[in-house]
Amino acid sequence: MAIDRNKVIEDMSKVSVGANKDGIIPAFNVLVNQWPAAFWNEFSKRMIEPVDDDIKEDVEGLLINAAHECGYHTGYGIITSKEWDAAVKPMVENVEDVLHGAFAVFTAWGWADAEIMELVPGEKMVVRSYNYYEADIAEAYPGKKAPRLSAHMIRGVCGAFMDLAYGGDYDSTGNSGLYTFRCKQTKGIECGDEYGEFIAVKSEEYEKL
């Protein structure tokens, strides 16, 4: 692997995210925000908790899809940004390097300390994370253990990054290229596991997971 993950994380975590005079932070080809992690977790938790058990999965699906679509467009914004060109692109030799580099940026943004453990090009990716903010949702539950796997953002973004790598040309409309892969969370720190584990496969293979 050509990507120096630690260097990318170190460089990208220092990228300036200062707001302009209008209170807007344009960076990585998107408008960035730096809000408390509690905001994202609170909204997710409050959306899922009040609904009946048989509907929780539907609401989780909406949260995952929001992250998946975000990850697709933001991921593309990241890998085509001047910040990427400066810090990551010189190390990139192939599409797998792009994926490893994207997860290093993903980590530098504070989404999760997430790393690819297994990659079958065009078929499957296994990501593991030993630290992610979505696991903090467990603190609100008895015994600090959440009743459900809750890393909807990581799930969505893992699927999206596989879309970008192997789902064909980027489509800004999202009509093609998006949702060619889907990701399942199989372990979660929030539920007492040692780490979070995420498996992304082609959409047609998803139900077999």
């Binding site: 209008d22 807007i24 408008l31 925000n33 905001f39 994202w40 943004w109």
Partner: protein
């Protein structure tokens, strides 16, 4: 004018960002607007827009209340200055407090992050969408005037996403 002091740190071991020792994360307009759209789409299942507004109110009430306490900010105008600067520093846009007292007030947003993100992503909308901005405003008024959350009701009366030159919010106590 009181000046906001923000210290950013990155915990290299755990890969986490902090602003004034409070855990933050970088996200983008896609995620914020998709959460907003999700809150609207889920209306038949759950009151998503209320949840989005109240989640924002609670989180930023806590952020501002902690800041005021840690920095000994007690004067109302200083508190408003800090809240307005915080709003911009974290990328929410630009806020102007047109009127404010314990009974409510009015806020203008010449730049509103959610609206500008929405316009960039989808274009104009027929209804206001800045539930996050409204929630911040409600939390800010509660924190500034030492009131509990849900004291203030915030309604968006003018919206950039609908084509207005600025967004405006009416605050009633």
């Amino acid at each position: 004018m009181a000046e906001l002091k923000l210290t950013h740190t990155f915990d290299a071991k755990n890969k986490r960002h902090f602003l004034n020792n409070r855990l933050t994360v970088l996200h983008c307009h896609h995620y914020a607007t998709l959460f907003t759209q999700l809150s609207l789409d889920a209306k038949d299942i759950v009151d998503g827009t209320r949840i989005l507004q109240e989640s924002t109110e609670d989180v930023f009430y806590n952020v501002l209340t902690a800041y005021y306490k840690e920095n000994g900010i007690t004067d109302t105008s200083d508190r408003i200055d800090i809240a307005v600067q915080m709003f911009s520093a974290i990328g929410m846009g630009k806020m102007v407090v047109a009127a404010s007292d314990t009974s409510g007030g009015e806020i203008a947003m010449p730049h509103a992050y959610v609206d500008e993100g929405w316009l960039k992503k989808w274009g104009k909308n027929k209804e206001p969408v800045n539930f996050i901005g409204a929630g911040y405003t409600a939390g800010m008024f509660a924190a500034v005037f030492d009131k509990p959350t849900r004291t203030y009701s915030v309604t968006e009366t003018k919206s950039k996403v609908m084509g207005a030159d600025e967004s405006r919010f009416k605050v009633t106590g």
